[in-house]
Amino acid sequence: MAILRIKNIGSLFLDIKTSFLHSLTITLRRDRFLLMAVICVLPVVIPIFVALFSRAMFRESGLEIFIRLSEQVYVHTLTPLLALFIGLIGIREEVDSLTIVYLLTRPVSKFAWIIGRFLAYMLISTFLLGVGLFSTFFACVVLGSIYVDFIGISMLLQYLGVGIMGLMGYGAISLMLGCATNYPIIIGVILFFGWEKIANVIPGIADFWTIQKYLDSMFPALASQRYNRAVMTVIGSFQKELFFVSPQRAFITLIVLTIIFLVLAIWFVLWREFTKDRVVGTR
């Protein structure tokens, strides 16, 4: 089987390193990296804005704001966006620009190519997520009830850890979509911002087929218990019954899902023909 046909461990690592460094140098100079960097630190303005302009008598504390920003913005919104923006595009821009033909005719293992790309995406995205989370944390400290102490920092690191797990899961799916389909962005958006959101509110166990379910399970215990998901419709409202998964099981599940989707991505690269010439002027 081609996927197992590896040269030797030394050259495999060299290939992974090359793919990783190449992806890193290309992505860091792209406009999209700057756009994502701005978006990742944008939530910092919220605690600052609340501190300066909120006239509410019982305004939210720094702790509450940090938890909500970490969960709703960083983990639920920015991790899938980073996966699509950095991970998927990292693969896709080579396919779209047809420069992939130069890579496919090099003696580089496809396994190493995908893994190198994935590692570069993980490093860049973790950096952006980390910078965003740290700055938000320190901005929230200004509002009180959260401090730069052992408890505060460990909570911050826990959210960063959950974010990294999200980047892994969403990233592997994005890479697979980028290798498998011609419209990966549309499918990715429908999957991450359509299916994931719907499955986590409709009754039943559909949410087990989402990444968000496992990420929610790894949030600090008190934070996850605040959830009270409900859907309000014109006919009535119904509440989502939550089936909890332990953090350990969620962690293992995400690792397994990441491996499965990465293997699928590699298989698609091996199986597909990326070089079909397109007629100029067609979409």
Binding site: L35, I46, I185, I186, F193, V280
Partner: protein
Amino acid sequence: MPVYSFTYRPFEGKYLRHFRWWIVFLEEVRLWNRSRIFQILFLLGMLQPLARFLQILSYNSAMQDPNHPLAPLIRSVTWLKVNEELYYNLIRLQAPIVLLLLLYVGAGTVCTDRKNRLWDIYFSKPIHWYDYLVGKLLSVIFCGLSLTFVPAVILMFTDYVTKKSSTWTGLFSYLPVMGDSLMFSLVLVVPSALAIVAASSIFPTENITVISVITILIANTTLAGLLSNFMRDGNYMQISFPVAIYFMGQKIFNVDRNIFFRTADVSGFNMFLYIFFVSMLCLLICIFQVRKAERG
């Protein structure tokens, strides 16, 4: 060496002096209307108008036939009523599919030409940057209106025809709602088209264009939602561009049935200025990029 006055047969037809953008428009429409994905998305977009069509038929027949078995039910359900709000809801609920379709159609308008080096070909013809840009923009706007304003007009005509008491002068009573529908459709479609074409002129590929537009929309809406939540003030929702468009729609149709925000407290003029400013910014980006391309 002999020099000939005519070395080839001169063009005997008439050159287009005006409306050169029409060629760009036609070319663009020709490109996307053959695509299977476009056809599927368009058909999906026609599902709601089809449902509304059935709604109008059943409501009008029930209202005019007291012996209709479903008449009491249809009369008692308020959201089945055929009034101005039907057209507001039609256009409002079309927004997600319109955005998806506009992204599909508009994301490649400029970046694909750049990628395939078609700019050299376009601008070697008697086409100016404004013909090119107007053609591209109008094709995207046309696509958006075909799922919003056009079905609304067809539904108005259906309503007029299925009402037994209709006289031909009754047609004029639809003019205000037709105007409102056009305004709301334009408020929804034009800024979206401008934003997508602007992104397409900046970013290198369709995929990057689509994800950039979606990222900006999501970031913008999330920020607005969180701000309004933390500040306990629904007005902050206006920062969200999609919400601002919905608010404008409510103002145009004079509807105030929002669960979470009170549109009555919001200044329509401010919202219009916000949408106008963003649209102009996008238009400037488009002009700057396309003029740069024309100059080479």
